[in-house]
């Protein structure tokens, strides 16, 4: 591993590049126009980035990628869908989802590492399950908690409001599985979920 302060291991330099790549992917997905729903929570394609980060990078790197992205947002770069950024967005009603981004990527990666990855098709199915658990169920749970705290909304109402997003997010899970399938075929040595092969 790292011997002195300024040197990095091969693993660490790969990590840095991949973490930066997926943080950049989040920024790119944020440039795709968003659809605003009431309650100030927009539908964006950015949650696809979370699912992909979890499935392709695994828990630790996936979390780091989203954390890096959120640091850039907090520093004032307008990278969230619709050109939002700065510390203000961490105080908006949807802030729970933002904090959830990093955690959800971690959960997606952890689940992905546990699921079977024998063939490309099986890997894609695992990616669907992992992104549904981490990128939908977990992320929405954190988001609902955020809505309840930041907008003093009763949990049941926050839950109902949140349900509006679930169909769209399930479509993103399918998209994530399709992309994972492609990567599994094109790069058979790819360590999905951070699992060494």
């Amino acid at each position: 591993m790292t011997s002195s302060y300024n040197t990095v291991s091969r693993n660490a330099s790969q990590s840095m590049a991949l973490v930066a790549l997926f943080a950049a992917l989040m920024a790119v997905l944020g440039l795709i126009p968003k659809i605003d729903l009431p309650l100030g929570v927009p539908i964006t394609i950015q949650s696809l980035g979370i699912m992909l980060a979890g499935c392709l990078l695994g828990a630790r790197r996936g979390f780091a990628a989203l954390a890096l992205f959120l640091v850039a947002v907090a520093a004032g770069l307008p990278l969230l869908a619709g050109g939002r950024g700065g510390l203000g967005v961490f105080m908006a009603p949807s802030a729970g989802y933002l904090v959830g981004y990093a955690l959800a990527a971690g959960v997606t990666g952890a689940v992905m590492a546990l699921l079977p990855q024998g063939t490309a098709l099986r890997t894609a199915a695992s990616a669907f399950v992992a992104s549904a658990l981490g990128g939908v169920v977990f992320l929405h749970a954190v988001g609902i908690a955020g809505l309840a705290v930041l907008a003093s909304m009763p949990l049941s109402k926050a839950f109902m409001a949140d349900l509006l997003f679930v169909p769209g997010d399930l479509v993103k899970c399918v998209l994530c599985a399709v992309i994972v399938h492609t990567v599994a075929k094109a790069m058979p040595d790819w360590p999905f979920g951070g699992r060494a092969r």
């Binding site: 992917l25 992205f69 992309i179």
Partner: protein, 198 residues
Amino acid sequence: MVGLYCDDHITWLHRWPAGRKLACMALLGTLLFIPATPAPLAAAALGCALLWLSLGAATRVARRLMASVLIAALLVAGFHLWMGRPDVAAVSALRLACACTLGVALTVTTPAAAVLQVLDALLAPLARLGLRPERVSLQLALMLRFTGHFFVQWQKLDEAHRLRTGRAGGLRLIAPLTVQMLQAARRVGDALYARLGG
């Protein structure tokens, strides 16, 4: 770096050190969650409005952002009014509007690099746990570089697809783009190792 920071109009808040601004915002942001009645929050909202006005033209870049925040606050208020809780409506809408104003005021008056410097200092104690603050800056730079590369690569693939088929590539390009970007990241990782590794 691009961002919401505005340096065309230097205001009094620009001259505050970034660390002091962040500390004030953290403190005020927490205080906002204490009152449960509208009166103190209305006073806070008045303060925030004065703060906003005192920044003058510097807030222009964030006007659309602020408008969307205010609309969100109104929607939250409308929701609580509809539920028959006018007091909760006032409290939550005012709290949201105040917190977001503080955040946006900090963002337009502080360059991203200054915020990152404060972050570096705050993260410094974590160095013992293996997190390198100076790596965060390197990774942010890499991230911005990759963001541009995504578009270059997409354009190349789209042009190639147009040449073959005469139509725009659309969603079909996602798969080759993903593979190419993953390979690019691996090459960048190798390059970093070649330069920093040992």
